[in-house]
């Protein structure tokens, strides 16, 4: 489904930052993969490279067999099949929840307004806030906004969902409601790549956990292996710091 091969990404800001160094990984259909690691370890960059919000410098990234780094690939077509949820929600501030959910369906998927609204309504019910259909993002709580954002991504019927620290900007009491939605998705068999600091979520839902540090994948394995018997010193140190 998603395959990254020897992906490298370097940022040149005030100084050279090697965000990704020779990263390879594979995510199969139906997999829930959680990427964890200290801040600055390159986990968000990896996620953003998967749908080309950042362009990898080197290597190959295959989505459904299509090499997205090939200049001939139409990246918009690939992105249609990949939902993304951001840390800061990024809801369209000038549109209601309904507007947020229907816009891309109509513009990109060419659905009729009626069709798009039906799909939107069903998804708002699924994420538990059908009563907020006419609310603007600014009048919603963080948790509600993030659930609308998840629904917006789902409205496109993606094959993969990417989550970039979806709960990091939330007040503690709202984290649960967002994680619940994500757990439901995982149970329904959605392919998910989740960058998060929620170890509980990783333990409970993940099929596989990837631990990254300094732009490299240090360790990778099932949650049982990962939380009970990590092999690398760096992983042990990280887990001891956060658990």
């Amino acid at each position: 489904m998603v395959r990254a091969e020897n992906v490298c990404k370097t940022f040149y800001t005030t100084h050279k930052v090697e965000a990704l160094v020779d990263v390879s990984c594979q995510i199969d259909k139906g997999d829930v993969v959680v990427i964890i690691g200290p801040s600055g370890s390159g986990k968000s960059t990896l996620l953003r490279c998967l749908n080309m919000l950042e362009k990898a410098d080197k290597g190959h990234i295959y989505i459904d067999g299509v090499d997205i780094l090939d200049p001939k690939t139409n990246i918009n077509k690939v992105r249609e099949e990949m939902g993304m949820v951001f840390q800061s929600f990024n809801l369209f501030r000038h549109k209601t929840a309904m507007g947020n959910l229907t816009l891309a369906q109509m513009v990109v998927r060419k659905r009729s307004k009626k069709e798009a609204e039906e799909r939107a309504m069903a998804l708002l019910e699924k994420v538990g806030i059908p009563d907020k259909v006419d609310s603007y993002p600014d009048s919603l709580s963080g948790g509600q906004q993030q659930r609308v954002a998840i629904a917006r991504a789902l409205a496109m019927d993606p094959k993969v969902m990417l989550f970039d620290e979806p709960t990091s900007a939330l007040d503690p009491e709202m984290i649960g409601e967002v994680l619940d939605v994500m757990k439901t998705l995982a149970r329904e068999g959605m392919t998910m790549v989740v960058v998060t600091h929620e170890m509980g979520f990783a333990r409970e839902v993940a099929d596989r956990v990837i631990f990254m540090d300094e732009g490299k994948i240090v360790e990778e394995g099932s949650p049982e292996h990962f939380f009970k018997a990590p092999t690398h010193e760096r992983t042990k140190l990280f887990l001891s710091q956060i658990l």
Binding site: L53, N76, K77, R79, G83, N90, L91
Partner: protein, 339 residues
């Protein structure tokens, strides 16, 4: 409890300062007006406001004169109008004129240049004509300026160097040189060249008005471009990323997500720019476009009442700019989030 007791400190703490401030404002305005009035008393100037209305509307006397010599052969009534037929030795001429203006009878002998009928008609004065030209020039230049500014602003933030550098060059050239000089260049250089080209093709000439409009639009466009750029860049990067992550193309994201949000942010500076443009149109008088300022100048030279007329001129500009200002505030309210 001190209710019922009037206390000056309580009054000051609640509504007093506001009342005093409002009073102060009116006192200051009054002083300015009185000061001006007092100053004009000191110079030898006779105010003649009654002379002003005629430059807005006036009654024009229209005389219909015979162009041949002969006898009034017939006067045929056709509703409100009459047709006077004058028959000369070997020619005949028919003059239609309003019934009440008729000055001749059947059988009268008419000499060349005799008045057959005369009447008065209301006509708009030169100031109204000038105001209309200013309004026309401003509206066209504002609309063109928005289009130019929008595309230049988008080009300015493009990754393509050809587009970006062209936009920067245009903006810097236009913003960095005086509008007066640009108007001269548009009319005397570009206008001459273009009109010569048109003439060689056997086509008609473009009037100075259009070169003036072009100069204003291109001038405003450069400023609008920077306003548009700043507006777009003020929208959080995440909005574009969210739109792109849903599979929308760059132009789609711009159109549906970024520009609608940027629009309401750029409205206030845009209003300022277009108010400037209305006032800058007063420079077009130098290329013989008879807009409001040039019209006023002409009227001043004939009436010799500069005080009244220049005040009126300023007031008319104020009417235009204030109307625009109100319109933009209405747009701001209408596009407010959740509104």
């Amino acid at each position: 409890m001190r209710t019922g007791n009037f206390s000056i400190t309580d009054y000051l703490r609640t509504r007093g300062w506001r009342h005093i401030s409002v009073g102060l404002f009116f006192v200051m305005m009054g002083l300015v007006v009185f000061g001006l009035f007092f100053a004009t008393k000191k110079v030898e100037y006779v105010w003649r406001w009654y002379r002003v209305p005629r430059y807005f509307v006036y009654k024009d006397k229209i005389e219909i004169k015979a162009e041949i010599e002969g006898e009034v052969a017939s006067i045929v009534s056709k509703g409100e109008e009459v047709e006077v037929t004058v028959r000369g030795a070997d020619e005949e001429e028919v003059y239609p004129l309003p019934a009440e203006s008729l000055r001749v009878d059947e059988g009268d002998f008419i000499y060349f240049g005799d008045v057959l009928g005369s009447y008065q008609k209301w006509k708009v004065g030169i100031l109204v004509e000038g105001l209309w030209v200013t309004l026309k020039v401003s509206v066209i230049a504002v609309l063109l300026g928005i289009v130019i500014g929008l595309f230049t602003g988008l080009a300015r933030i493009s990754k393509n160097p050809a587009l970006r550098w062209t936009a920067i060059t245009y903006i810097e050239l236009v913003r960095g040189s005086p509008l007066l000089v640009q108007i001269f260049i548009w009319y005397f250089v570009l206008g001459t060249m273009f009109n010569t080209l048109l003439a060689k093709q056997g086509l008609g000439q473009l009037s100075p008005l259009w070169y003036g409009v072009a100069a204003l639009a291109v001038f405003a466009g450069a400023y609008v471009a920077e306003i548009v750029r700043a507006g777009i860049q003020s929208i959080h990067r995440g909005q574009m990323e969210a739109a792109r992550s849903l599979g929308m193309t760059y132009p789609q994201s711009m159109r549906y997500i970024i520009l609608p949000q940027a629009f309401r942010r750029i409205l206030p500076p845009l209003a300022g720019q277009f108010i400037s443009l209305i006032k800058d149109s007063s420079l077009l008088g130098i290329i013989a476009v008879r807009e409001l300022t040039k019209a006023t100048r002409e009227v001043v030279t004939t009436s010799l009442q500069p005080f009244e007329l220049w005040f009126i001129c300023a007031l008319l500009y104020l009417v235009l700019t204030f109307a625009l200002s109100m319109f933009v505030q209405y747009l701001e309210r209408r596009t407010a989030i959740g509104g």
